[in-house]
């Protein structure tokens, strides 16, 4: 239609929409947690269900990941400017997936849809090459490897089903009982939880699933959740441990 009207139409390849989505979610989640941190801790029940979960997630984004996301945003910004150079108008898919009917009666968010990437409109070889380079850049930017962990998390959840966070707390306590000398740090928890043997023994809680799916953060962060029952973990935590992060 645009060609019929006399416009000169070219195809432009933008960075993958998913990159924008993930980068934006990391930044927004971190900043919104900083803004509402006190309320999330003191009166979490006053938030809506999805709002609360989203605002709590920011507690698990590290400063390094946040700064990396800011740097990655700058790179995306430069790529966008380069792609738009020389054109008066750029049209791109910015459409959420097919679940548009309102689900306001359901417990879940009405916005739990996934973005549709504009790269799907490009030829398969170009898209594959683009995705490969973007993944390489993503890793070099030291952001969470969202894609791979996303798939891993999905597979994991599908296999194990969803459990409550209390299941994980119980399992964490069991792990600590077996290894009483282990300090309760995020790194050590990461080793124990993400390691293959522990992974096979532990259930996958719904809360951890969301984090893995959204940000690719390991399950190690789960016991440090705001509002997480810490009674089982308290006896073994050292004064300087990161379990006191609030």
């Amino acid at each position: 239609m645009l060609k019929d009207l006399g416009a000169v139409v070219d195809e432009v390849v933008f960075p993958d929409l998913w990159d924008y989505h993930i980068c934006g979610r990391v930044i927004i989640t971190t900043e919104v947690h900083a803004i509402h941190r006190q309320e999330v801790i003191e009166t979490p029940e006053k938030f809506g269900y999805t709002t609360r979960r989203r605002f709590q997630l920011g507690a698990f984004i590290t400063a390094e990941q946040y700064i990396s996301a800011l740097r990655f945003r700058r790179q995306l910004h430069q790529d966008m400017k380069a792609a738009m150079r020389g054109y008066d108008l750029v049209m791109t898919a910015n459409q959420w997936d097919r679940r548009t009917p309102s689900r306001s009666r359901s417990r879940s968010s009405t916005s739990s849809t996934s973005p549709r990437s504009p790269c799907r409109s490009t030829s398969p070889p170009a898209r594959a090459d683009r995705v490969l380079r973007l993944r390489q850049r993503w890793l070099s930017a030291r952001l969470p490897a969202c894609r791979s962990r996303l798939r891993r998390g999905e597979r994991l959840c599908r296999r194990r089903g969803l459990r409550t966070r209390h299941d994980l707390a119980f399992a964490a306590a069991q792990t600590l009982i077996r290894r009483p000398s282990m300090k309760l740090t995020r790194r050590s928890l990461g080793r124990s939880f993400v390691g293959t043997s522990a992974l096979a023994a532990l259930p996958m809680p719904a809360f951890a699933q969301e984090k893995v799916v959204r940000f690719g953060i390991s399950m190690a962060d789960v016991p440090l959740t705001t509002g997480q029952p810490t009674a089982a973990l308290a006896p073994t935590s050292s004064p300087g441990s990161r379990s006191t992060i609030r």
């Binding site: 934006g24 927004i28 809506g48 269900y49 910015n94 548009t100 009917p101 309102s102 306001s104 009666r105």
Partner: protein
């Protein structure tokens, strides 16, 4: 004269400048329509009827006395409920701010009032503009006026729905991750997500400091440009506000100059909807929606 709710901001401004339309009549028409229609889509949280009528009467008096503040003078607009308004409840669509009444206006609200705009009320949104609507929030979810079984997008859901249902001539939204663009697309209206720093965010509930923007939503791009012309400008109270002189910043957004520039160059592009989907009008919106 056509139904007043189908007028655009530019057209209504021209009529008021010629003395063929009063702000009071325009405001009363919209208030009647809100009473008649809004319960079907729940776009308004608070309707400030008395304040709106008072502001409209003042605008009429000023215009009658020869004071014409600009194209927004006497135009009824509404605000997303994260914009702080002096003496008017600002909830952010959350239980946490259910009783919050700010003492002063947000900078954008102040600019709109200075330009003579009439504030009709506060519009529904997603809680703290975070982009997720759940039934456990204090106000009902806004529905899409084209089809109430569909969602209107978000988080400026009330702004998009109210403009599409002709419940205000323009509305203020905010965009952090698509919160103006999505509802504008879902509801078939125009919306501008301004460049970061162009419009002050002082007095608006923040979501993410490094991404938040505030912008207008209206029925046409020209109406959005007229609103943006009022809103754009440096604000020392917003650290991210661009330190550009207002005149140069607002110039590209001047709707009339932009239209004249297009005409003078003799180039441009007209886009139309495919033949299978007839171009909707405001009147048809009203028929199909409510």
């Amino acid at each position: 004269m056509p139904d007043l709710t189908t007028l655009g901001i530019a057209e209504a401004g021209r009529l008021m400048a010629r003395g063929e339309l009063t702000a009071t009549a325009l405001t009363e028409t919209f208030l009647k329509r809100i009473k008649a229609v809004d319960h079907k889509i729940a776009s308004y949280i608070t309707v400030t009827e008395e304040l709106a009528l008072s502001a409209a009467r003042q605008a009429d008096m000023e215009m009658k006395g020869g004071l014409r503040r600009g194209p927004m003078h006497g135009i009824p607009v509404a605000l997303k409920d994260i914009y702080e308004t002096a003496g008017i409840k600002t909830t952010g669509h959350s239980h946490l701010r259910a009783g919050y009444v700010p003492a002063i206006d947000a900078e954008t609200v102040r600019r709109l009032k200075d330009a003579g705009a009439v504030i009709l009320g506060k519009l529904g949104t997603h809680e703290f503009a975070n982009g997720a609507m759940t039934p456990d929030q204090p106000f009902p979810a806004v529905l899409n006026p084209w089809n109430t079984k569909h969602q209107p997008g978000g988080s400026s859901s009330g702004s998009g729905a109210a403009v599409a249902a002709a419940l205000c001539m323009g509305a203020m939204g905010s965009d952090t991750g698509g919160s103006i663009r999505n509802p504008a697309g879902f509801c078939g209206t125009a919306g501008i997500k301004p460049t970061y720093g162009l419009v002050s965010r002082c007095g608006i509930f923040p979501l993410a400091f490094s991404l938040d923007t505030a912008g207008p939503m209206a029925w046409t791009v020209e109406d959005c440009a007229l609103m943006l012309d009022v809103l754009a400008g440096h604000d020392p109270n917003d650290q991210a506000s661009a330190k550009t002189r207002r005149s140069t910043m607002a110039q590209p957004h001047n709707a009339r100059s932009r239209a004249c520039a297009l005409r003078s160059r003799g180039t441009g592009m007209r886009a139309r909807m495919p033949a299978s989907r007839p171009t909707p009008s405001r009147a048809s919106t009203r028929q199909c929606a409510c």
